[in-house]
């Protein structure tokens, strides 16, 4: 809405004060009611459109204002937005400065830092506006822009995305409001129509000689029915509206000619690289047992005593460290303990069978014997 207002404002702008005179050709609004004034952002000297056309028709020329040394081009002339030319110029400067200093609050550690930044930018802008230390300021500006080119363009993209999203939302809201308004109107019309019909109906019935009390009773009944119906309709309408709102929310991104994606993640700084972790953070730790350097329980027979494993060539054949062998064995022994069948049975059947399988394997490992003995283990 506002944009449209702005566009129209050019043509719809009402005549300024009658005594406006072009300082170059001295023609006035009184003589030429269609006169338009233009300015050039080089020096902001005002002149009428025909002067601008005439003077700069054959390429760049010096500004006709006495004492102004600027060379102007026709294509840079434009209509001014603000009545106050100082503000017009200020805004032009701000446009440039803002394009460079577009940092955001969340990029600063504290609000105070951000405020100081804003303060400093404002100081710079002021220098440019009031022509103080222009050269130094310009230099600062340029070097900053150079140094922060990437950050600037990133923020730029962010900002424009945001404003697009905002515009799209605005549009959507407006559409919905219109829909709702229309719906309310329709409802009202419908109500009126029904009421009028009802009345006509009653009159007709009375005219055709039906008993008045009966007609009245019937009319009352219809009214009651209608109220009930209306209440239901109200509920339905509510649901419909909500659904519509949800639907259009979903299509928020699909319509219009500019592409805006919903749910885009706000730009996140990449975290520093860490060593590759194949298990994706999954850690293995012993819960059930402690690995010891050596196992020697003399009471146990040889084939059950881990101590002798050390001497078993088969165990060491792969070139393993004996501790790894212990570890392996312990792991086999304790695997599956701490898995509770009943818990997992509650889940899916498939999961349950898998659970049993694991438990079975564990038991088998623990006993170190064949399948047959498995049943006895419990």
């Amino acid at each position: 809405m506002s944009k449209q207002a702005q566009n129209n404002s050019a043509s719809a702008r009402r005549p300024p004060e009658e005594d406006e005179i072009c300082r170059v050709c001295k023609s006035s609004r009184y003589l030429n009611p269609n006169m338009k004034f233009l300015v050039n952002p080089e020096c902001y000297h005002e002149m009428c459109e025909s002067c601008a056309d005439r003077i700069f028709a054959s390429g760049p020329a010096p500004c006709p204002y006495a004492g102004c040394t600027k060379t102007l081009r026709r294509n840079k002339f434009r209509k001014q937005t603000f009545a106050d030319l100082k503000v017009e110029r200020e805004v032009d400067i701000r446009k440039r400065v803002n394009a460079i200093f577009n940092k955001r609050e969340d990029e600063f550690n504290s609000l105070r830092d951000y405020n100081n930044y804003l303060n400093e930018v404002e100081d710079l802008t002021f220098n440019l506006i009031n022509k103080v230390d222009i050269e130094k300021t310009e230099r600062k500006l340029l070097s900053y822009a150079e140094a922060n080119r990437r950050a600037i363009s990133q923020n730029d993209v962010r900002a424009s995305k945001e404003s697009q999203r905002l515009a799209a939302e605005e549009r959507l809201k407006k559409e919905q409001a219109i829909q709702r308004r229309e719906a309310a109107q329709r409802e009202l019309d419908e109500e009126r129509r029904v009421r009028a019909e009802g009345k006509a109906d009653v009159i007709h019935k009375l005219a055709s000689g039906e008993s008045a009390t009966k007609v009245a009773k019937e009319a009352k009944k219809t009214v009651l029915k209608r109220t009930l119906f209306k209440q239901q309709a109200e509920v339905d309408k509510q649901a419909r509206l909500e659904a519509a709102a949800a639907a259009s929310e979903a299509t928020l991104n699909g319509d219009g000619d500019d592409l805006v994606f919903a749910g885009l993640k706000q730009h996140v700084e990449a975290a520093p690289l860490r060593p590759y972790d194949a298990y994706g953070g999954l850690a293995f730790e012993r819960k059930m047992s402690n690995l010891q350097n050596s196992y020697d329980d003399g009471a146990l027979p040889r084939h059950e005593n881990l101590y002798y494993l050390k001497q078993d060539p088969r165990a060491m054949a792969g070139g393993y460290n004996i501790k790894e062998v212990y570890s392996q064995v312990l792991c086999e022994a304790f695997a599956g303990l701490g898995v509770f069948l009943s818990d997992e049975l509650g889940e899916k059947a498939g999961a349950a069978t898998r659970g049993t399988g694991t438990a079975g394997a564990a038991v088998a490992a623990a006993t170190g014997s064949g399948d047959v003995q498995m049943m006895d283990a419990f």
């Binding site: 809405m1 129209n8 709702r180 009202l188």
Partner: protein
């Protein structure tokens, strides 16, 4: 009269009480006990204020925590009336109790009404008084004086500093007049006496704005504690007050003045830089630190307060780009230039704050955040610059208020630019309305902060509408009927002329000569039959004018003239008060007069036509609002979308509350009598929206009358009224003595016991029967 409600002793300063007053008090007590809000509709002229005060004072004195009462009313005269009632009540209490209670009751109104300074008080405009007072009392002025510079101070204000700060005025109830007199005697400023004594008062009576307008409330009412009892009296229009307090209109002229204000600021800054740069530097340093002046909120002289409501206030430091004084001034300038540019558009624009802000940013690079701080920053700057002639800065202040509001709220507000004053105007005269659509926004802090808020009026139907619109919930919602020993007012709905043609102010037929003639007949007939004063209300000035000129052409006014003097209300308040004066004189000396006025004008809201001043009131047409207004349309849409109040329901509600308000003007007490005529076909369907107490006395047979039927009924009624009605016949019915009241209480208690017993066990039939008999016996004995 002294009696108890439950365990609370009430001292009621009259020997008799109306039944509805008793009920009203019971419900009030229920609300206070329950700690919630309520909406109560009490028929006009039944002593609402005195019942309210008696109960709340009794409650206050009975409980150790002595909850403060904040009583808000609309007009000066109502405030004065309430203070007088309070004074009488306290006197009665002292007499009855035999000792004086430690009690303070004060009224507060603007400086303009309370100023004593010989030259300041003569100023006509309130804002000039405020500004001049400030230049005589501000802290920095005093500092200057101490430094030996020659500046003027107000002695009335200075003298206050010599007194004990919590005892500026002796205990007791002070009417505004009394306060002025005391101030004159003691040479102390009544305004500041009242303001500073507010924390030490038991009762404060002031206007709505001190609580509802955030710009004022923040300064005046900030320190009131949570357990205060807040009463809004005559609250039928409270939603509009809320909305107005947050709406701002800007014109090209006001913007020009604002620019001048900014230029002034700019100059002052340059000046100060050369003379006293340290002050600016000091302010800057404080803003960098994010410090707010500790006593800022209590600064009685502050230029303006932040218009945003407490919940939405940002408590962080002022943004960096408006910290420096010159930066801020440039910022304001840019903002105003932008507004001026917007004013140039030649078609109507309606937009919400979000889109306004987006466009603003696009064009001027003004961000939302610094905009929010505009009001605060401006206050700080004005304080630093030690400006005294603040009335020059009022337009600027308005712009800053607007800036803060538009950047704070994205819902419930709308910007409407209207380039032309009317549909037919060709020369643009743009107005930028920043209009609040949601009455709940302004009043929300009140409901959040105070545990008991009582909303009451003579005409506040339908009751459910108010909680809905204002976004609160009630624990008691009650509308009282009026007990009358004989019907002393006659409401009726006239739908047809004597020729059976329907009469209505509806758009299609309003200028139909036959309708106008029928209205004319109605007026003539009632002027003929009713004694003394007749008041006629039209829906709008425009309509009134056209009808009057048509009546003139038809010779109707000439006929009326034979019976009554004809007076007309105009938008000019002085002319109107002259007309009222004449009206009164004519009623007093027996000539009789008819006053033609407008249902939304001054007369309909604040002026009572008691007794012979108003024997008949006629509502010509349903006083609907002007529905083509864009602001109204926007509000209707908002109500529909947000509160599910349908447009027609709201319009009809609004029209009927005004109609009821007009009708209520003529009945100001139980000994009063009057005829109330609703003359429009459409009233027939809307009668349910009238207050209960009016509806109660409007029989179905009187809702579809023709002019001659109405005349006959009215004549009969007046004949009845002319028979004197001995007061003792009213006793026990429409007025109760203490015995009547005791009897009622006993009966009610018994009923309650019986009810409980019945509920307890079903075998209590016998007792029940006896109880019933007993009651009847008692009643018989009484009558």
């Amino acid at each position: 009269m002294r009696f108890h409600i439950d365990d609370l002793e009430i001292l009621f300063p009259y020997p008799r009480i109306y039944p509805e007053q008793y009920d009203y008090m019971c419900d009030l007590k229920r609300t206070l006990d329950g700690g919630g809000h309520c909406v109560l509709e009490m028929p006009s002229g039944t002593g609402k204020t005195v019942s309210l005060l008696s109960l709340i004072i009794a409650y206050q004195q009975h409980h150790p925590e002595k909850r403060k009462l904040i009583y808000c009313s609309r007009t000066m005269s109502e405030i004065e009336k309430a203070l007088a009632e309070l004074k009488a009540l306290m006197k009665y209490r002292t007499d009855q109790l035999g000792y004086e209670e430690e009690f303070r009751g004060l009224g507060l109104t603007s400086r303009k009404n309370l100023c004593l300074h010989p030259s300041v008080k003569r100023e006509k405009s309130g804002s000039v008084v405020d500004s001049r007072c400030r230049s005589l009392t501000a802290g920095f002025v005093k500092e200057k004086k101490e430094r030996g510079e020659s500046v003027d101070l107000c002695v009335y204000h200075e003298n206050l500093d010599l007194l004990e700060p919590h005892n500026l005025i002796p205990p007791g109830v002070w009417t505004l007049d009394g306060l002025l007199r005391y101030g004159e005697e003691q040479k102390q400023c009544p305004y500041f006496t009242a303001r500073r004594m507010m924390p030490f008062c038991n009762v404060i009576i002031y206007s709505y704005h001190y609580l509802l307008d955030p710009k004022i409330a923040e300064r005046v009412s900030k320190e009131l504690s949570k357990d205060c009892i807040v009463v809004f009296d005559e609250a039928h229009n409270i939603d509009n007050v809320c909305i107005e307090s947050l709406s701002i209109d800007m014109t090209e002229d006001s913007l020009r003045k604002a620019t001048r204000g900014v230029d002034n600021l700019d100059r002052k800054i340059t000046e100060m830089k050369s003379t006293d740069a340290a002050k600016l530097q000091n302010e800057y340093a404080k803003l960098v630190e994010g410090l707010r002046e500790a006593d800022e909120a209590r600064d009685e002289q502050a230029f303006m307060a932040n218009p945003a409501l407490p919940d939405d206030l940002l408590k962080e430091a002022i943004p960096g780009n408006i910290r420096r004084a010159e930066h801020f001034v440039a910022f304001l300038k840019r903002f105003i230039e932008y507004l001026k540019t917007r004013m140039k558009v030649l078609h109507v624009v309606a937009e919400n704050p979000t889109s306004f802000l987006a466009h603003l940013k696009e064009l001027t690079f003004i961000e939302k955040k610094p905009l929010r701080f505009c009001a605060e920053r401006l206050t700080s700057l004005v304080r630093t610059l030690e400006l005294t002639n603040i009335e020059d800065f009022q337009p600027l202040q308005e712009v800053a208020t607007f800036a803060t509001l538009v950047a704070t709220y994205d819902k419930g507000f709308l910007l409407i630019l209207e380039p032309y004053e009317s549909e037919t105007a060709t020369v643009p005269n743009p107005i930028l309305h920043f209009t609040c659509l949601d009455a709940a926004i302004a009043i929300k802090p009140v409901f959040d902060r105070f545990s008991s808020v009582i909303i009451t009026s003579g005409t506040i139907s339908p009751l459910e509408m108010y909680p809905k619109m204002l976004g609160f919930s009630t624990i008691v919602q009650e509308s009282y009927t009026m007990t009358l020993a004989r019907k002393s007012f006659l409401p009726m709905i006239v739908t047809r002329g004597s020729d059976q043609g329907a009469i209505s102010s509806g758009f299609q037929i309003r200028n139909d000569p036959s309708v106008v003639r029928n209205y004319g007949n109605l007026l003539t007939e009632f002027c003929k039959l009713s004694p003394d004063g007749v008041v006629v209300f039209f829906p709008s000035y425009l309509y009134m004018e056209s009808i009057i000129s048509m009546w003139q052409g038809m010779g109707i006014l000439d006929t009326v003239w034979k019976y009554k003097l004809i007076l007309v209300e105009t938008p000019d308040s002085q002319e109107t008060s002259l007309a009222l004066e004449t009206f009164r004189t004519a009623c007093n000396n027996g000539r009789g007069a008819v006053l033609l006025c407008v249902a939304r004008g001054k007369v309909s809201e604040g002026i009572d036509f008691d007794h012979h001043y108003g024997r008949t009131v006629i509502n010509i047409g349903v006083p609907f609002q002007y529905t083509e207004s864009r602001i109204l349309k926007a509000r209707l849409e908002f109500l529909r979308e947000t509160y599910r109040i349908r447009e027609n329901d709201f319009l009809s509600f609004d029209a009927m509350r005004h109609a009821a308000q007009c009708l209520g003007r003529v009945l100001r007490g139980k000994d009063d009598y009057g005829i109330m005529v609703l003359a429009d076909r459409r009233f027939q369907k809307k009668r349910n929206q009238l207050p209960k107490w009016m509806n109660q006395y409007l029989p179905d047979s009187d809702t579809n009358l023709s002019v001659d039927q109405a005349t006959a009924i009215a004549k009969k009624f007046l004949r009845e009224m002319s028979v004197t009605y001995p007061a003792h016949l009213q006793e026990g019915i429409s007025t109760w003595s203490l015995e009547d009241l005791k009897m009622h209480q006993a009966k009610r208690d018994e009923e309650e016991i019986r009810f409980l017993q019945e509920k307890g066990n079903g075998v209590m039939m016998e007792v029940d029967e006896f109880g019933g008999l007993d009651d009847e016996d008692m009643l018989d004995a009484d009558v």
